[in-house]
């Protein structure tokens, strides 16, 4: 296990609801621990439900690790906006961000467990996507 956050894949949680995103992040912290960088965002810029490309980009920056960042999101526009936020990253970072096609809460926990053990980005994404409740 790698104890240093900077060595491990970071996790970004994107939800239409700030409360869902914050709650999912709390579950990851409590269940998995402090070994991974973790950032969340949720809610429309003007309040209410929604997601924001800028907020997702900022969350990717906060969770950044040279090992890469795994992004989990909930519904529809959260995915589109996540893809746009990734498109806007510098070239050298874009290739090190992976979207995980997994339920946001469960996927974030599974991804963080894999990341906490020092798994590479592809393995982190594969584990999250393998989850079947």
């Amino acid at each position: 296990m790698s104890g240093r956050q900077a060595d491990n894949v970071g996790i970004v949680i994107v939800s239409h609801s700030a409360e869902v995103a914050r709650g999912a992040a709390e579950m990851v912290r409590q269940m998995v621990g402090p070994e991974v960088r973790l950032a969340w965002c949720g809610g429309a810029p003007g309040g209410g439900l929604g997601t924001s490309v800028a907020a997702i980009g900022a969350a990717i920056d906060r969770a950044w690790s040279d090992a890469g960042v795994a992004v989990l999101f909930d519904l529809g526009g959260a995915g589109t906006n996540s893809e746009m936020a990734i498109e806007m990253l510098p070239d050298e970072r874009r290739a090190r961000v992976a979207i995980c096609a997994a339920p946001v809460v469960e996927g974030a926990i599974i991804a963080a467990v894999e990341a906490s053990g020092g798994a590479p980005l592809a393995a982190v994404r594969a584990a999250a996507e393998a989850w079947q409740g």
Binding site: G33, I110, G118
Partner: protein, 91 residues
């Protein structure tokens, strides 16, 4: 190669559910070589480092957790964690 083996009953209220599964997986990841668990001595054995597989095992309270590993310390560590009810009574 001969693997070290052990077995321990799951006595915590929820068995090997979410939080215990995460703790067991993280601990298993700290050891090199094979670390596997099963609900019966004859298997099927699953990789204890895979939180997806460990959670999918859905081992209930009262089940006996069988452990086998290349490193005997891994067997002792995982059995110890289970014997301590995963350091957390709640599931």
């Amino acid at each position: 190669m001969t693997l070290a083996t052990g077995a321990v009953p799951l006595t915590n209220p929820t068995g090997l559910h979410a939080r215990p599964a995460v703790k067991l997986t993280k601990l298993a990841k700290t050891f090199a070589g094979t670390v596997e668990i099963a609900l019966a001595a004859e298997g099927p054995w699953i990789d204890a480092r895979s939180v997806v597989r460990v959670m999918a095992l859905k081992a209930p309270r009262g089940a006996v957790l069988h452990i086998r590993a290349a490193d005997p310390a891994a067997v002792a560590a995982l059995a110890g964690l289970a014997a301590r009810d995963f350091d957390d009574g709640a599931g």
